[in-house]
Symmetry: C2
Subunit: 186 residues, 2 copies
Amino acid sequence: MSRYQKTDFPTHDIRRFLEPGPIVLVSSAHGDQTNIMTMGWHMVMEFSPSLVGCLISSGNHSFELVRSSKQCVINIPTVDIAETVVKIGNCSGSSVDKFTEFGLTPKPGTHVRAPLIDECYANFECELSDAGWVNKYNVFVFEVVKAHVATSPKLPKTIHYRGDGEFMISGTETRKWRRFFRPGML
Amino acid sequence: MSRYQKTDFPTHDIRRFLEPGPIVLVSSAHGDQTNIMTMGWHMVMEFSPSLVGCLISSGNHSFELVRSSKQCVINIPTVDIAETVVKIGNCSGSSVDKFTEFGLTPKPGTHVRAPLIDECYANFECELSDAGWVNKYNVFVFEVVKAHVATSPKLPKTIHYRGDGEFMISGTETRKWRRFFRPGML
């Protein structure tokens, strides 16, 4: 598996990678445990502070790690590790050390204890910003406090889940409708 | 512009079209006004009831129409009307009748007064389920009470926004990793 060379990225602009809707990997740490889960239900909520709403089902082993540590990393995997992403979503951190099992490299963050997944295209270090809907909907609102993004390629080939084992792989990138935007609306 | 032939679709399975993260059009009606807005910040929140979290900025003309009527329709446009989608996002319903301006066909729903956009691939009729985060985050939680989806093609070619006038167009569809899913995890 390749490891991307990464650079700091402005946290207010992470919608560039999250708004198109890829499956992401959420990594967490609490006490002596770490874990990784796949997540498809997330939304950008604000540019600055950089807020992201995430649904982490209470049935997941990651739920308690994230709730207790009040931190996580949102990692963006690309199509080259799609098989690993699926397998991560189909086993539980209660019985498997996912970094070891899947040969992924945990890398220290600068702001959170949760490990970055080195093999992912981008890593967003997150602190829990609002737990008000955790009990009601399993929705966590995170603030992205530090973003690391690969320097190349310019845009990632991401995977987008449709349910029932089907994925859409991100396709063509285009700016051909850019001229129809008013400057303030970009 | 083409109009899709549509059929009823199970509301608990609309993640099939929303989870991959397309730009959607939100149509609304209140009193004698209708409107359409583009929306990129949304997330699936539950299968059944079929809940979707949506961020509708209070600066949008649609905000008051949706808040007052407690209804909307989430419409999924395809790449063939991308230019129209961008233009819809770059003018305000306070000065433009968007159905007329853009030659779109409002079609009556079965459960809500807000009009379906006939030229879109899918239409999800929504009722406001939770307004608890409307003031705090401009987040509306809707329940999809009726779904209409095109019978053909099987999957839509959707557009996914990255900001700065750039779009990703949905690419290849694949089930090649389906064998790595445990049955209960599909």
